[in-house]
């Protein structure tokens, strides 16, 4: 997997600008916040110009006199205080308005991503690990929030620098130019800093990530490490990474100490010297007053102050651009699931009869996985599908459930073309039974009905009773309101499966599609599940993929697939008699039982 830096370097400047443009487009929705922030920063900067000027005037006009009315002192102080209050209020507004705008922007991006993801087809999810998707929605968007900080500090900084320069210009032009001469040096030091620091920073984060992976892995595999007596070696390997990380931190410290705020400080001092020199020369020309010196030197500080903050935030720019790139890839994706051609909810599936007519399927840019598949399953009957790994069994299911679009042929349910049945009908009437049970965080009621408010508590219980889950649920401390922690193991594997069976049945589908798992479970659980499956199949049409023939021995018909083609079809007995592929499979499994 390529790193962020690699990705960043692979983007052309044009692409980067385009991404930044689109990101700002998301921000445009909340332009009021950002505009408010800009107005506030303008007020803030203007106050920063006025306050020193005010003191300059006060010092050079009043404090040079021999006497001064008390009233003038108090009124001046009051004005100054007012100015300070206005500036503080503006400062608060700048930061708060901007950050809220940024927050709304990033959340709207998250919402857009999540909604888009739900529209994508299973093909996307089958090839993308869930972890990386979560990263996009959660972590990348967080990078974009940091990215916006670049603009905040940039905006504040630029306003500060420009207004400070204007103030200096209005005070003494030559001195102002003397200070301005240092701007190129500043920009140079920013450029040098960002060059050295970004690669050092990345290296440091990479090492930290390595450290954390090592620790996590060590804890997970601790038994093996201890059983194989590998503690010394693992320790040595860790110490090496630990040391490398220390070195990288030391480099980072050095770079920051040399090139970050200390150098900005040094440039400030040099600019100060230059300005004072120019001002000093002016004493020969005319009046040079203390107050003016105070104001000018204050403006020089204000000119240099924001630089360090801006430099600090630079590193976020890169991450933000890459995060934007990845987010837009999802938002632009056209990898939708198969679409239906009818939109309303006229009921079409009543009995649940299934027919495949000459169906073929190939993955995009791939070989044909299913070829000329034809079979019929009458309503209420059961069909078992067997075959080696790669024979096309899972693909058949993916097609039936409209996870993937098939190529040629027709699929009919109760005589209606699969593509024309409304989506809602399909989802309601076809139930998928996965033997890898998936539970959600919530109570049992929630796990069985999920978000479907049409399922009453009684229906939930009825479903649970059907699959034999009601018994153990009643034993639990809060029965149906017991909260399930998917990561934990308070329920046994068998119990979890029964709950997911109840979920499928609660929707009362007419057709059941059964996708069997390959791993073996202990015999007791196995029996329980087989019994429940039998009950679930009553009164419903069933298509079952089986790895163990014992599951489908009693199916009305069995289909044998080999390399995408139907090679045998019949009942268990008739297939055994044929002494063909099915017979082979059967003998192989039976043999191991003896």
């Amino acid at each position: 997997m390529e790193t962020t830096q690699q990705k960043y370097q692979s983007l052309t400047t044009k692409e980067q600008l385009h991404i930044v443009h689109r990101l700002l487009g998301f921000a445009a929705q909340y332009r009021q916040s950002f505009l408010l922030s800009m107005v506030a920063v303008l007020v803030q900067s203007v106050m920063n110009m006025l306050l020193p000027r005010f003191l300059q005037h006060y010092m050079d006009t009043y404090l040079v006199r021999t006497t001064l009315a008390e009233k003038i002192i108090i009124v001046s102080a009051a004005f100054y205080l007012l100015g300070v209050i206005i500036r503080s209020a503006a400062q608060f507004t700048t930061t708060f308005a901007f950050n809220m705008g940024s927050e709304y922007m990033l959340e709207s991006l998250r919402r857009a991503l999540f909604a888009k993801l739900h529209r994508l087809g299973m093909s996307y999810f089958d090839r993308t690990p869930a972890g990386s998707i979560v990263s996009r929605v959660n972590n990348d968007t967080a990078s974009i929030a940091d990215f916006m900080q670049v603009f905040l500090s940039g905006m504040v900084g630029i306003f500060a620098i420009v207004t400070a320069f204007i103030a200096m210009w209005l005070t003494d032009r030559t001195a102002a130019l003397a200070v301005l001469a240092f701007l190129p040096l500043l920009i140079l030091s920013i450029w040098v800093y960002s060059k050295y620091s970004s690669s050092a920073y990345r290296y440091m984060r990479q090492k930290l990530s390595e450290i954390n992976t090592r620790i996590s892995e060590t804890i997970q595999g601790i038994e093996i490490i201890q059983n194989f007596r590998q503690q010394p070696r693992i320790r040595q390997e860790f110490e090496q990474t630990n040391q490398e990380y220390l070195q990288s931190r030391r480099s980072m410290i050095k770079i920051n100490s040399l090139l970050l705020s200390p150098i900005v400080n040094l440039l400030y001092t040099l600019a100060l010297i230059a300005a004072l020199y120019v001002l000093g020369l002016h004493t020969h020309l005319g009046l040079l007053q203390a107050g003016m010196i105070y104001a000018f030197t204050t403006y020089i500080s204000q000119f240099f102050n924001p630089i360090t903050n801006m430099m600090d935030n630079l590193s976020f720019f890169q991450d933000g651009v890459v995060a934007g790139y990845r987010s837009f890839k999802i938002l632009d994706s056209q990898e939708y699931g198969p679409q239906q051609t009818v939109a309303d909810n006229t009921p079409c599936i009543t009995a649940g009869a299934i027919e495949f007519r000459h169906v073929s399927f190939a993955y995009p840019n791939g070989p044909e996985v299913l070829h000329d598949i034809s079979f019929k399953v009458p309503a209420g009957a059961s069909l078992g599908i067997v075959g080696h790994t790669g024979s096309g069994k899972s693909t058949l299911i993916n097609i039936m459930l409209r996870f993937y679009e098939y190529g040629q042929g027709q699929i009919l349910i109760d005589g209606h073309d699969l593509r024309q049945i409304p989506q809602a009908q399909l989802r309601q009437k076809i139930g998928l039974v996965l033997q890898d049970s998936y539970l959600f965080y919530g109570d049992i009621n929630f796990n069985i009905r999920l978000y479907n408010q049409n399922i009453s508590d009684r229906q939930i219980q009825a479903a649970a009773q059907l699959v034999d889950a009601d018994e153990f649920i009643q034993q639990l401390p809060q029965q149906y309101q017991t909260v399930i922690n998917p990561g934990g193991s308070s329920l046994s594997a068998g119990q979890r499966q029964l709950i997911s069976f109840a979920r499928t049945i609660a929707a009362d589908p007419k057709i059941l599609v059964l996708d069997e798992a390959t791993a073996n479970i202990d015999t007791e659980t196995e029996d329980l599940i087989q019994a429940s499956l039998k009950r679930m199949q009553q009164g419903r049409t069933t298509i079952a993929i089986a790895h163990r023939l014992s599951t489908i021995k009693h199916a009305n018909h069995i289909l044998v697939l080999d390399q995408g083609r139907i090679v045998e079809y019949g009942t268990h007995q008739s297939l055994l008699q044929q002494r063909g592929k099915y017979y082979e499979l059967y003998k192989l499994q039976e043999q191991d039982a003896i």
């Binding site: 992976t213 038994e223 007596r229 100490s257 989802r427």
Partner: protein, 576 residues
């Protein structure tokens, strides 16, 4: 403050570095005093028309020297102090890691992996902050604050100083209060973010279920609700965060106001000059950072203290695994004599094993079967000496297993666990995990015995393919076979297979068993399994139920006896 005392061992060891750092801090503070004074002097000379070229040169020269000095001094203390913090971090991490490596099973049951990781990341960061920014703020606030106030008193006026700095403690207070509030809100924001992450993870992993039930719209609505909550919490964080700078500016502004009020009088009374007032105002700016720092200091110390305590408490937990001195026995073709009267887990109430006794002569095979939770794996745990406290005796090669060194004992035993964990490295390194010096030939031989050699060669990079969490993921059956190869490569004298073929199909299991019998050097084997088929050919089989042996014998005998074994055999037959 107690945390400084607790970390004294570190500061003492690094005293040279910290003393140098503080020295340079002091020098920085001194050079900080020069510029405001110089500007003030410049202003006065300008006002009094006494600004000659000589004077100008002097002033600029001093400012230049101060500026260069500052640069060098700052570099020096940053290097020393931040460097010290980085060192502490490395040390603590090292200590924790070595400790983890030597802890026993109960330790890992007491502490979830998330907590153990947090000790190594967040807690270490908090502690190293004490040695970094903690020391800095402590020293700097005293040094800079102190020298600046002294300068204000010396160069300007003590009365003005006292009055003007009245608002400044409020700066420290504000920093402390807001800092704590921010920390709390931030923790809430972290929690909300975590929840959102979990929600996304759940929806994406369970996408098939959601799609099948056609509930995408509702799921999106649920997500949006959580986003709304996140926004509300982040708003609070932003609010407090945005308060820091304005409040600082306001309090400093107050200081300026006081300075104007009282300072004006002093100027009119000619106690001080305008230049001195300008210098004074410059010094006030110097005080901002130290005041702010004091406020932050308490937060940093508090957090560092709590984290240090957490780390120390983990480091002080002892391990139950212990070596014994008489450790120079060696093992050769050992017999196993297992005789446990009773064993209870350290934090358990009931005995997990009672009166379990069996003998396994070298070279024979023992099968252990029984229901889930009957104690099968516990027997293995005792053999591996993961627990040493029990009533009874386990003898191997004629001696108590506790009298051998762990190295000797565990070299002799090859253990293949139920769940196969692969490390993020090459397949080759995973197989020769017990000894990286093993050559490819030996690795391959072990892989062949485990019937995984062919599969490995079919991978894109063969034996050099990266597996584990950061590599490609192998199927359950493949992982188990790699695990088996890993145990076999060191040619153990006792091989323990703990339900290690559950994900392997029947045909392959037969292959492996056959390989072990014919091609591997002679060894004792213990097979634990759910499938009776796997232990069929064992020289003896024991059936466990609630920690006790209820049946024993050979397969042919056991299927004749009415009991659990025969029952199970029937049922497992029917499933095929």
């Amino acid at each position: 403050m107690g945390i400084f005392k607790k970390l004294w061992w570190f500061f003492y060891k690094q005293k040279r570095r910290y003393l140098i750092g503080i020295l340079f801090l002091f020098l920085t503070a001194l050079s900080n005093l020069i510029i405001p004074r110089a500007i003030g002097q410049f202003a006065d000379w300008a006002n009094q028309r006494q600004l000659t070229a000589g004077h100008l040169g002097q002033l600029l020269g001093i400012i230049l020297a101060a500026g260069l000095g500052q640069y060098i001094f700052r570099y020096a203390w940053r290097n020393q102090i931040w460097g010290g913090a980085a060192d502490l971090e490395r040390q603590l991490r090292s200590q924790l890691f070595w400790h983890y490596l030597n802890m026993d099973d109960t330790f890992f049951q007491r502490h979830r992996i998330g907590d153990l990781m947090a000790r190594c990341t967040n807690d270490i960061t908090a502690v190293q902050n004490v040695a970094g920014i903690g020391i800095l703020t402590f020293a700097d606030s005293i040094i800079t604050g102190g020298t600046t106030i002294i300068a204000m008193i010396l160069f300007v006026d003590w009365k003005l100083t006292l009055i003007a700095i009245i608002p400044l403690p409020f700066l420290a207070l504000m920093a402390a209060v807001l800092g704590r509030l921010l920390h709390q809100r931030f923790a809430q924001a972290q929690a909300a973010f975590s929840q959102l992450s979990n929600k996304t993870q759940e929806s994406m992993t369970g996408i098939k279920v959601i799609k099948t039930l056609g509930q995408e719209t509702e799921d999106i609505a649920d997500f949006n609700q959580q986003v709304d909550r996140t926004i509300a919490i982040n708003r609070q964080v932003n609010f407090i965060d945005a308060l820091f700078d304005p409040t600082t500016g306001f309090i400093i502004g107050l200081t300026f106001v006081i300075t104007i009020l009282y300072g004006s009088h002093l100027i009119l009374q000619q106690v001080i000059t305008i230049g001195q007032l300008i210098a004074f105002v410059g010094y006030i700016n110097n005080l901002v950072w130290p005041m702010f720092a004091i406020g932050r200091l308490f937060n940093v110390l508090e957090r560092g203290n709590a984290s240090y305590d957490r780390i120390q408490s983990i480091l002080h937990e002892p391990s139950l695994i212990a070596e014994h001195p008489n450790a120079n026995l060696s093992l050769n073709r050992p017999d196993l004599d297992f005789n446990i009267q009773s064993f209870t887990y350290p934090d358990g109430q009931q005995p997990v094993l009672s009166k379990v006794q069996f003998t396994l002569p070298f070279g024979q095979t023992l099968g252990i079967v029984g229901r889930v939770g009957s104690g099968k794996s516990t027997i293995v745990k005792l053999l591996l000496r993961r627990f040493d406290q029990y009533q009874g005796l386990i003898k191997i090669g004629g001696h108590d297993i506790r009298s051998y060194s762990l190295d000797t004992l565990l070299q002799t035993i090859g253990y293949v666990p139920q769940t196969s964990f692969l490390f993020s490295t090459t397949v080759q390194n995973n197989i020769r995990f017990g000894d990286y010096a093993t050559n490819q030939q030996q690795v391959q031989k072990a892989a062949q015995l485990g019937d995984i050699d062919q599969d490995i060669q079919n991978l894109t990079d063969g034996y050099q393919t990266l597996v584990g969490e950061r590599g490609i993921s192998l199927s359950g059956g493949q992982k188990q076979r790699v695990s088996i190869a890993r145990a076999l490569v060191k040619q153990p004298q006792i091989l323990i297979l703990d339900d290690s073929t559950s994900a392997v199909d029947a045909k392959t299991e037969v292959e492996i068993t056959h390989n072990l019998r014919t091609n591997a050097p002679k060894q004792s084997t213990i097979i634990i399994s759910q499938r009776l088929r796997s232990v069929m050919d064992a020289d003896q089989i024991i059936v466990l139920e609630a920690g006790q042996i209820i049946q024993r014998g050979k397969h042919v005998d056991l299927i004749q006896q009415p009991g659990w074994y025969a029952d199970m055999w029937q049922r497992q037959q029917m499933n095929y």
